[in-house]
Amino acid sequence: MRRWLGFLMLIVASFSASAHKASDAYISLTWNGEHWVGRWDMALRDLQEAVGLDLDDDGRITWRELRERGDAVTAHALSRLDISGDGRACRLDGQGLRVDEHSDGGYAVLDFQADCPATVRQLEVDYRWFFEFDARHRGLFSLVAASGARGTVFSPEQPTQRFELVADGGVWPVLAAYIREGVIHIWAGYDHLLFLLSLLLPAALAREGRAWRCKSSLAEIGTDVLAVVTAFTLAHSLTLALTIWQYLALPSRWVEAAIAASVAVAALNNIYAWFTERRVWLAFGFGLIHGMGIAGVLLDLALPKSGQALALLGFNLGVELGQLAMIAVALPLIYWGSRQRYYPLWVLKYGSTGIVGLALVWLAERGLDVVILSS
């Protein structure tokens, strides 16, 4: 009794100094376009407990020892993980061991595959590894599917989790997601919008000699705007698709710099009036380059192989919608402003000068790969 009492006391006095990295395992399941690929990090200390790794009992675990116990590790782990797709169990195949170092020591990394079908709608994961040895063990799980990434933490109290995936039949949510991406991207891409804006600033004016006069008919203005926007849209949609499908691949630094140059040219055009009636060609020509730049973002989003066309369509739609939104706001202002006396000087000339300045800064930044304005 005394012994027990004393021992308990040393427990109670230990609050502040307790350590906090308990036993964790990390599991990820990813759809790579063809298979469900898994990676499972297990602490070597835990594995020692579960299957025994230290074969020569010297207190150290070497790569050789881990390799020799590889089959046992794999069998032990995969027998305590169940993955089923739409109610049908998926077969799990171990594909070998690697190692990694985490914040609390060495881990064995088990690569595996699950043969759940590509079109699975619902995945159910049941995790029971190591709970029998350690009630505080947690399985930190993440699932990466075409529709996004999800995560959960498995514990003895919650060993099962279900994930709803969007099957290929469920088109709308994926489409909506990419439309959203398109809108966000075009609004965040000041250079695209600024280029378009520069082309539209003189839309309600016509050049006469060295002066500007208001266009009289709404139809004239409307046709002008429509032509410019359509040309730009057609051009960038074309090169967006070609770049995504990898028929075009120009170095991004060049593309980015060219985009900056296009903004400068468009703005300069408002000052020096090189092409007034034929801004359409400017819109089309540079639009081709803008499309390649927009594609850059989409490429970074790592499109799933299945449903790529859908993603592309959605993204492009989003870009157009974003553009339209900007035009809807800007156009009335341009129309009204063009009727004011100060417009040609202040907005068209000086405003465009400002845009040229900004564009030249971008050109310097992108061409020389330096940072002048922090974005």
Binding site: M9, F15, T62, V99, D134, G296
Partner: protein
């Protein structure tokens, strides 16, 4: 300029995991097992338990051994192992002892409400179970409920001979306005104490050292800490206390000497990293990164039992007073030791949000807790709140 939004979603995914690799060399050492993890006695006990899984007394022995290891190594994995062994026992008609052990493990997780519930059940079964009273006293003390703590301590001192009860009583009295007299009485008690178990003595000396520190008597505090540490490596508690004492006096080299090699315990690793940072040692960088990773992992697990340490980390190593304040305030809701008050005060001052510390001032005034280390901080906050 270019926003990569969907990629941000992959924060949870494989991108967050490191670069796994296949070692080139068969003899490459991947992990060094903790010395006492291969504890012969523990292994023997576990073998016996595997052979006779229904032997409750044996299981309790295994649990106790795991807990002792966990304390000595300051390694929470052992507590998890203990819980796993205890779980099946606790399911069917648990005895008072088993309930108390479960409470001890819950309290180690900082799950105080579960622990107290188990202790109430245990005491209902066996009202004279000293271990349960002691655990209950400790939890109440950490929560700042000194009257309840004192009651439990008094029961222990009545029931059991030896140091435990007296240290418990004096420790609580010291926290509730009688620091000086409690300190003198405890010092006297220890000077004449006979052959008590090592754990009790180490605990008593550490408590005495903290009292001396709180009174501002640095010399005595150091003497008592060294006395506690000389008893042996039974727990990380005196190590942490002494390290804080040294850190407060900028004796960083001594902290490094004291804690070198202490990688497993987050609390100790943090104090080591702090000293290394102040000294400009190169290891500080790596240790800081390790700590950040560990705290992030704990958060992913849903483990919030370390917010006090994390608050100190954010304030003193990461330089983020706002985050430190959030953590310190959350920590204060759960536990109210002088250390917890201190980090909340420091974080509030650093973040310029003095209002956040009002509760601490009220607590200190209400309980009468004295601590020389807090005085300056309290004055600063009080001045700004007046």
């Amino acid at each position: 300029m270019r926003h990569l939004l969907l990629t941000a979603l992959l924060v949870f995914g494989p991108a967050a995991l490191g670069q796994a690799f296949v070692p080139a060399d068969d003899d490459q050492v991947l992990e060094v097992l903790p010395e006492r993890g291969g504890d012969a006695k523990l292994l023997a006990l576990r073998e016996q338990l595997r052979a006779a899984p229904d032997d409750r007394a044996l299981a309790i022995q295994v649990v106790e051994r795991y807990i002792a290891l966990g304390r000595a190594e300051a390694d929470p994995r052992y507590f998890g192992r203990a819980e796993a062994v205890l779980a099946p026992l606790a399911r069917s008609n648990p005895s008072a002892e088993i309930l108390t052990l479960r409470a001890v493990l819950a309290q180690n997780r900082h799950d105080f409400s579960t622990a107290l519930a188990d202790l109430r059940r245990a005491l209902a079964l066996r009202p004279r179970l000293t271990g349960a009273w002691l655990t209950q006293a400790a939890i109440h003390q950490v929560q700042g409920r000194y009257p309840e703590a004192l009651q439990s301590c008094l029961v222990v001192s009545r029931q059991a001979a030896g140091l435990a009860g007296r240290v418990c009583v004096e420790s609580v009295l010291a926290d509730s306005g009688q620091l000086e007299p409690a300190y003198r009485r405890l010092a006297e008690l220890l000077s004449i104490a006979g052959p008590e178990p090592a754990e009790e003595r180490q605990w008593a000396w550490t408590v005495l050292a903290e009292m001396a520190e709180r009174l501002g008597d640095a010399e005595a505090a150091e003497r008592y800490y060294r006395q506690a540490l000389a008893i042996g490596r039974l727990s990380a508690y005196p190590l942490a206390g002494f390290a804080d004492f040294l850190l407060d006096r900028q004796r960083y080299a001594e902290v490094v000497a004291l804690l070198t090699g202490e990688q497993r315990a987050d609390g100790l690793l943090f104090r080591l990293a702090l000293a290394e940072r102040r000294l400009g040692h190169s290891e500080a960088e790596e240790h800081q990164r390790t700590l950040a990773a560990r705290f992030a992992d704990s958060r992913r697990r849903g483990d919030t039992s370390h917010q006090g340490d994390e608050a100190r980390f954010e304030l003193q190593l990461n330089g983020d007073p706002k985050q430190a304040l959030t953590l310190a305030a959350a920590n204060w809701q759960v536990q109210r030791e002088p250390r917890d008050a201190r980090i909340l005060l420091e974080a509030a001052i650093a973040a310029g949000q003095f209002e956040a510390a009002r509760d601490v001032l009220a607590f200190l005034a209400g309980t009468g807790l004295e601590d020389a280390r807090l005085r300056g901080l309290v004055e600063r906050v009080a001045g700004r709140l007046a």
